[in-house]
């Protein structure tokens, strides 16, 4: 894992133990946005993983039905 990926995942963990405690959990998806981000960064790397997490957060709004939405598998090769 690259340093950037580790740093990003650190941020997600930090969020979960601080800010999430203040604002509560409101995610419409399974897995939750923060779980999704951790997994996406692990399997797709820092840049792609961060981008995927960002679009996931954008999808996580009242106009999206939500539900089960796993991280896509990385392309084979």
């Amino acid at each position: 894992m690259t340093a950037a990926a580790i740093a990003l995942k650190g941020c997600v963990h930090a969020y979960r133990y601080t800010l999430r405690g203040v604002i509560g959990s409101h995610c419409r998806f399974y897995p939750s946005c923060s779980d999704y981000a951790l997994e996406a960064i692990t399997t797709h790397g820092a840049a792609r993983g961060a981008l995927m997490s960002a679009t996931r957060i954008l999808r996580c709004n009242p106009w999206n039905p939500g539900g089960y939405d796993p991280v896509p598998l990385p392309p084979k090769g």
């Binding site: 405690g21 203040v22 604002i23 419409r28 946005c33 709004n61 039905p65 939500g66 089960y68």
Partner: protein
Amino acid sequence: MDQKRLFAAIALSIGILLIFDVWNRTNRPPAPLPALPAMQTAPAVPVPSPAAAGGVPTPGVTAPVQTEASATAARPPAARVSIENARVAGSINLRGARVDDLVLTTYHETLAPDSPRVRLFDQRSSANPYFAQWGWTAASPAVRVPDSETDWTATPGPLTASNPVILSWDNGRGQVFEIALSVDDQYMITADQRVRNSGAEPVSVLPWARIRREHTPIGAGYYILHEGFTGVLGDRLHEMTYSSAKTEATRRSGVALDQETAGGWAGFTDKYWLAAVMPAAPDQTLRASYRFANDGGGDAGDRWQVDMATPQPITIAPGATGQMATRVFAGAKEVHLLDSYMDRLHITDFDKAIDFGWFYFLVKPFFLALDWIFRLTGNFGVAILIFTVLIKAAFFPLANKAYHSMARMKALAPKMAELKERHKDDPQKVQSEMMALYRSEKVNPASGCLPILIQIPVFFALYKALFVTIEMRHQPFFGWIHDLSAPDPTNLFNLFGLLPFDPVQYSHFLHMPAWALIMGVTMFVQQKLNPAPPDPIQAKIFQWMPIVFTFMLAGMPAGLIIYWAWNNTLSVAQQYYIMRHDRAAAKAAKSTGKTAKAKS
């Protein structure tokens, strides 16, 4: 599980950091920065700035100190010319041509009407030396320039908006130095520095203007607020704390920052006050520097300086006059005042002297709206309450939309119970199955991460607007709050004044004001309405948050705690309203269904 332990450790560390921050804020020890040997043996001549063209000495920070220290005693006290206008009172020290006495007459130090006015500039002999000074550095060796011990002659004072004062000094070798000072009806002093050369040879000098601070101010010490060097140089904001300037300057022979700038400004900012120097013409290019030096005696010998000089020494031919015009702002950072200077004098981004921060584009409009409501209602606290309601109202559709499906959730209850029964031993499975169910039934109880994340910068911006602006200073609220910008004075630990002692003298933790308790309760109630995090450790932290926050905010300005408490209360009210509304709607739907059945 090892990972859980790790996370618990992380959580504990964060908690300790937060608590340390609270303690640190009120009980800040002086920064223990090592003074390098190079700085302790400061040279007695002006420090040559390596960046200055041709190795010409720029206004070195150490030079005047040394001169003054050696040539004191047995001289008459320095003559002074007083400064008077509607906002300031003070005087020009004719020895050394500096303004080292300036009081902001419209601001008191404390709430008491007979308390002293806020003093910005003070003399070398005082505990907090802070002044503006104008001078020249000789670039050709033959020319004799004035120094910090020079006694200037002045035209009749006092210096007022209608009466400029001209200081002059003849060096006896054919050059006359002049500083024409004028002041407006607010906080701006303009200085026109001229050298008239009536000698036979051309002379070369470097004119400069500087703000110098010969002590390290005890700041408010909040991480959220910048105090120290600040300026807009080359269209960019350059902020530097005292400690980072010290580190930087120690590495670069006294110069923490050195940059040419067309227009702009640079100086020292406190939470509410600013002293800054700038070119008088917005298109004029000067070289600005942030400097640090140590006169010995540990941290007490720390000296700070912001100066502006012409980029190159100016050469004045026989019979000619060399000139540089600058301004010094010394006063309160009132938003509308800085804005008006920005408009009238075209000072680049002068409003950024107020630490609006990254969210400038939100914080400033928020402040302007708050200030407008304040003018309507006459009470800043009421303005905070009203403005928070307006912001909440703007986000209401989002929240409403989220809870809209609440009613339909009820219909799913039996199916959910069955799911939970089926996967009793696998909570993860229950979660994923539930999400699949929501999706197939097109309902979802959560509002989503996006609406919540969008709200964070908005509420942070409001918080920041309240924090950084002087307009909340000494503004009362109801009851026991007489100053919204100061911590709530009441304290649980002496039963709100029933016991005749001040617990804070024993520990800074022993301050628990009434409004912080109110805030804690509102936060607790609001959390009860929020879904808890799925992870048990996180859920535990979640439960502790109201208590952590109560302690963390206890020492914060009362206006911020009131805002926070009010914001929580509104969130609770909103959630309650929506839930009741949906319940009523569900009931209505049920009963109409029944009557329809009965009819058929």
